[in-house]
Amino acid sequence: MRIACPFCGERENGEFTYLGDASPKRPNFAADSGESPERVEDAFYDYVYLRDNVAGFMREYWYHGGGCRSWLIAERNTVTHEFRSVIAAPGVGAANPVQAGE
């Protein structure tokens, strides 16, 4: 399998590590947000454990540890292993992402 890192070009998949579904967003609850602990815990439970088992295209995290150390979002078909896109997407895991410089 070959993965086209947007920074390094097409590389062997051995340079990458897979983390899985990139759709969960880390809940953004400050320690003193005043939210009920149950709601906070439920949100984190979702974030940490619940994943869809998709047969088809899904967005997933790949880490280019053997290259530029970028966390990438790959759109990959779990049935055919076809990659539709591989991009860097800063902040994609945050519930309310704030981009650099903002």
């Binding site: 070959r2 150390r69 650099a100």
Partner: protein
């Protein structure tokens, strides 16, 4: 020179030694009873000697072992897997199921080598296998008499009970009775390489279609790689000839090869078999670089494993002729019709003097022509269709050919091969035909394997009675005979079109030229899979699966092809059923009343052909199994006789034995006492190190550690603990603040990589708004821990006198840059793992070895002692510091006794999930100290903790011992453990139960800080 290592050294005879090349080749020819006087792609000027089962024979350069055996009239070459039946050579290619031999000897011995693909070389030594005491008189052939018990599913039915008998009695017995060759038991002396190649268009197979495809794609200008498993390109053209563009096929191949060689964008790789297809256009191929010589030349590899990345591939892997199943179809001398032509035309070797042909299709008739032209006799042609195909009528007329309808119902013969063929016609009338070779053609199966490696299902084509490729993997097209286009003209056109299209898809814009032209010979076939008659009729020659095994499987309910395969082992041998799968499922279709496409095929998987483990391993064996990481002081430590331990990829000094010390414990105890009473040092460069920089570096660390780092003063160090998002501890380490916007973070040795990935995830994926950069500094710094009451004295010798090293000037948990005597700038951290006054000093890695030497010089008068990881571990256990065995992926911060570090004022990774009920339950197992009551007792990690007086078991189990050491300070074995409610139980006596080592004793639960619990020493 000849390199014989077999039991019968042969060497050349004196007569041959002194003779001229032509005399030698004449002598060689004379000894080859079945060699034709002329023709063939062999070099009669280059005679080669070889031995098979100790018998010396000769062949010529260009021969395979199989063709040389044929030329010498050898029929019997193997004993079959299960019944030990005499077997011969069936094919002339890589699909060979039967002629497997043991090549070479000693460490280079290689079993199950196909004689049909083994190139002959001077001095080749081969043995038959699976026979005792000899091939002709094989004791185990009595298995044939016991054949009724060896039916399908025999192992499953017979050896089910008692289970323990299987391992000790049945399996060794069966292994001896049924099997293939024996592998070498010595380390492989050869080297194997791995390499990558990249191209636009990969052409698989160098026959007519493949050459045509490579020419088209190459002319168009794309980068082309053509792989061919054979020693030369040409495919069936080398055996069947023909006319292309008005020239003889052989000449066309020569010209095509020349043109390909002239194209700089084309690479032709022979002796290279493609065996796997992977995602994204990655293909694997095995190049047999030096299988055709006795021993690879110095610095040359035996085989090379290629991974080829191709945008497109054109698979022109041809077709495989299939046998017909009839009683006696495995007798030595029964051979595929196309193989007979290969031996005759390509190798000038006659498989028989009187050849009978059994064919159900037009293509088989070519064999008549080949035999007649070579001057052989055709005993008869048996064609169930009952008449001569129009194209071959002239042959029949000319030669008074005996043509019979019906089918072959038995083959007479034995170890010496075929003697006669029994033909039964449609009315049940039998007649015997004298023949010493039976050529068989049941039609051709397109070689669809590679197209099916991504679960593509082949599709049935009625007119050729065969499967053709279905959905091929992305980027792959099949062309020529592999796609069911059998005529030469069609192969050339199809290959050209596929090559040109593939090149265009890769962006090549050059002129692909025109396809070469040849005739379109007919291929009419009337399917015939089996002649039903009494006697053993083989489907899978290599696994000895008979037609009745298939029907038995059907009667017992194993009708699905996947069940059929596993129940009968059909197609599961080293040939993966290349000649048997389709026939087996056709017989199953017949038995169940379904059609062949309804019956379906089994799943095709790589490798297409056997690949040696050595080739897959490549250079990754022995000491190169994985990379080594050496600490900066490694060579210095090695010179002092250090014993090293593998820690991940690292080699770390474990202890430094001194003369007179009898065991490791003596050495380690000396090292511990030296540190506790004086001063010692230890290379801790293996710790992961990360430079964290930026205006938001402090905020970032606050979010990844459970404790605060933004509040850490510049010039200070702090111990930090990191959680995973699920609330479990991930890692720990000390982080120092070097400047307002610069922290230096350390991780454990084991987690250096994963922590870096985690930090990058947090930085990039969660909080891109933070102004923070990470860079790995693990390999940039050599780091040493210097510990013991005399540490400060040693450092005064090492650092520049201007540096204030007093307790006030460099307090506990201080961290700053210092200048060393000589001018090198180092980072110094006053942190302690041992519980003594201790510093960790970091210098650029290139100074690491010098630092070790300088520590010895600076501490000479203090008796400075280098210590290893073992002493480091003893001292951390004495101090109750947790490490890997406690940070084991199940423990929370509170389990480790570090719960108070968790900030309540900030959000951090893992905070919310760490608060879950089960992770904060009062009965969790927490870190405690454990001391055996009997001070002589050796504590061992892994032992279970149960309440005193309780019966050990899952109900009473309360935890286990995680880390142990002999404590020189306490003068007894001590340990840390994870024990239920442990912190409430200091002083309690518990039972330590160790069923693995049959030990059972009592111990006291105690404070995990065994030594200096107040921590006064490290602050002094």
């Amino acid at each position: 020179m000849s390199g014989y290592t077999g039991s019968e050294p042969l060497g050349r005879t004196a007569a041959l030694e002194g003779s001229t090349p032509s005399a030698r080749s004449q002598a060689a020819s004379a000894s080859q009873s079945h060699r034709l006087r002329s023709g063939g792609l062999i070099d009669r000027q280059q005679p080669l000697q070889f031995s098979f089962d100790g018998k010396v024979m000769s062949g010529f350069a260009g021969d395979t072992l199989a063709s040389a055996l044929v030329a010498n009239g050898v029929k019997l070459v193997a004993r079959s897997f299960k019944y030990h039946r005499p077997r011969g050579i069936i094919t002339a290619g890589s699909e060979e199921p039967s002629a497997l031999v043991e090549m070479r000897s000693g460490a280079r011995k290689e079993p199950n080598t196909r004689a049909t693909t083994q190139e002959l070389y001077d001095g080749l030594v081969a043995q038959s296998q699976n026979r005792w005491p000899s091939l002709r008189r094989d004791f185990m052939s009595i298995n044939q008499l016991a054949a009724p018990i060896f039916v399908a599913g025999f192992y499953y039915k017979t050896f089910m009970w008692p289970a323990k008998f299987w391992e000790k009695v049945y399996e060794p017995l069966i292994r001896r009775a049924a099997g293939l060759g024996k592998s070498a038991e010595l380390p492989d002396p050869d080297h194997y390489d791995k390499a990558w190649a990249h191209c636009d268009v990969l052409v698989v197979g160098g026959g007519a279609a493949g050459l045509s495809a490579a020419l088209a794609a190459g002319r168009a200008g794309s980068r082309v790689i053509l792989v061919e498993e054979d020693v030369r390109v040409g495919g069936r053209l080398l055996s069947d000839g023909g006319e292309i563009d008005g020239m003889h096929a052989e000449e066309w191949v020569r010209r095509a090869t020349g043109e390909l060689a002239s194209l700089p964008n084309v690479r032709v790789m022979v002796r290279t078999a493609l065996f796997g297809v992977y995602d994204g256009g990655v293909y694997t191929a095995l190049e047999r670089v030096n299988d055709h010589v006795p021993v690879p030349a110095p610095h040359q590899v035996r085989q090379r494993l290629w991974r080829i990345v191709a945008k497109r591939s054109v698979v022109t892997a041809g077709a495989i002729e299939r046998p017909i199943v009839f009683p006696g179809n495995d007798r030595p001398g029964v051979m595929m019709a196309s193989a007979v032509r290969t031996y005759v035309n390509r190798f000038a070797a006659m498989p028989g003097k009187r050849v009978a042909l059994f064919t159900n299709n037009d293509d088989g008739w070519r064999t008549v022509e080949a035999i007649q032209q070579a001057g052989g006799d055709i005993a008869a042609v048996i064609d169930p269709r009952g008449k001569v195909p129009a194209e071959y009528q002239a042959l029949a007329d000319l030669s008074d050919l005996r043509v019979l309808s019906g089918g072959v119902s038995d083959v007479k013969g034995g170890v010496d091969g075929v003697r006669g063929v029994i033909v039964t016609d449609g009315n049940g009338r039998k007649q015997q035909i004298d023949a010493d070779c039976l050529a068989v053609s049941g039609g051709w199966n397109p070689n669809v394997g590679l197209s099916c490696f991504h679960r593509g299902k082949p599709v049935w084509r009625d007119d050729i009675a065969a499967f053709i490729p279905g959905d091929a993997p992305r980027g792959m097209v099949m062309a020529g005979a592999a796609r069911g286009e059998f005529s030469l003209g069609a192969c050339l056109r199809d290959g050209h079109a596929a090559g040109a299209a593939a090149a265009a898809e890769c962006g090549a814009s050059g002129n692909a030229g025109e396809a070469s032209e040849a005739g379109d010979e007919t291929y009419a076939i009337s399917p015939l899979w089996q002649v039903k008659a009494k006697g053993k009729a083989f489907v899978d020659f290599q696994h000895d699966v008979t037609a009745s095994d298939v029907t038995l499987a059907q009667r017992e309910g194993f009708e699905s092809v996947e069940h059929l395969k596993r129940y009968t082992t059909l197609g599961m041998a080293t040939d993966q059923g290349k000649t048997s799968n389709i026939t087996g499922l056709a017989i199953m279709a017949d038995a169940t009343g379904r059609t062949i496409p309804q019956t379906g095929t089994t799943i095709y998987r790589p490798p297409y052909a056997p690949v040696a483990i050595g080739a897959l391993a490549g250079h990754h064996r022995d000491e190169n199994f994985h990379a080594w990481r050496l600490t900066p002081s490694h060579h210095w430590a090695a010179a002092r006789g250090a014993v090293f331990v593998d820690t991940g990829l690292w080699k770390r000094a474990q202890w430094y034995p001194q003369p007179g010390e009898n065991d490791w414990l003596e050495s380690v105890t000396r090292e511990v006492l030296a540190v506790r009473n004086g001063v010692g040092f230890c290379d801790v460069s293996t710790l992961g190190k990360v430079d964290v920089r930026g205006a938001d570096a402090g905020t970032f660390l606050d979010r990844v550690y459970i404790n605060a780092f933004s509040s850490l003063g510049v010039g200070k160090a702090r111990y930090g603990l990191m959680l995973r998002e699920d609330g479990i501890v991930m890692d720990d380490g000390t982080t120092s603040r070097i400047a307002e916007d610069h922290y230096f973070l350390t991780t454990t040795t084991a987690k250096a990589g994963p922590v870096m990935a985690h930090l990058e995830f947090c930085r990039q994926v969660l909080w891109p708004e933070l102004d923070v950069q990470l860079s790995s500094a693990s390999d940039q710094w050599a780091q040493f821990s210097i510990a013991g009451p005399n540490t400060r004295k040693l450092l005064q010798e090492l650092v520049d006198p201007s540096e204030d090293m007093s307790n006030e000037g460099f307090p506990f948990m201080g961290a700053r840059e210092v200048k060393l005597r000589g001018g090198v700038t180092a980072r110094l951290f006053r942190i302690s793992f041992s519980g003594e006054i201790a510093f960790e000093i970091s210098v650029p890695a290139r100074y690491g070895a010098a630092m070790a030497q300088n520590l010895m010089i600076a501490g000479r008068d203090l008796g400075v002692t280098p210590y290893g990881t073992e002493a480091l571990g003893v001292m951390r256990i004495e101090k109750g510091h947790v490490a890997g065995p406690e940070l084991n992926g199940t423990t929370t911060a509170d389990d480790l006794g570090l719960g108070k570090m968790m900030s309540k004022k900030k959000d951090f990774i893992g905070r919310v999930m760490a608060g879950r009920e089960a992770l904060t339950a009062p009965d969790r197992q927490v870190v405690v100290g454990i001391k055996p009551i009997d001070v002589k007792r050796r504590l061992r990690s892994g032992a279970h903790v149960v309440p005193k007086g309780a019966i050990p078991g899952p109900q009473t189990d309360q935890g286990y011992v995680t880390s142990v050491c002999y404590s020189p300070m306490l003068e007894q074995w001590i340990g840390l453990g994870l024990v239920e409610r442990g912190r409430e139980r200091f002083g309690e006596i518990v039972r330590i139960h160790d069923p693995l080592r049959s030990e059972d004793y009592e111990a006291e639960i105690c404070n995990p800080v065994f030594y200096d619990p107040e921590g006064a020493r490290q602050r002094g």
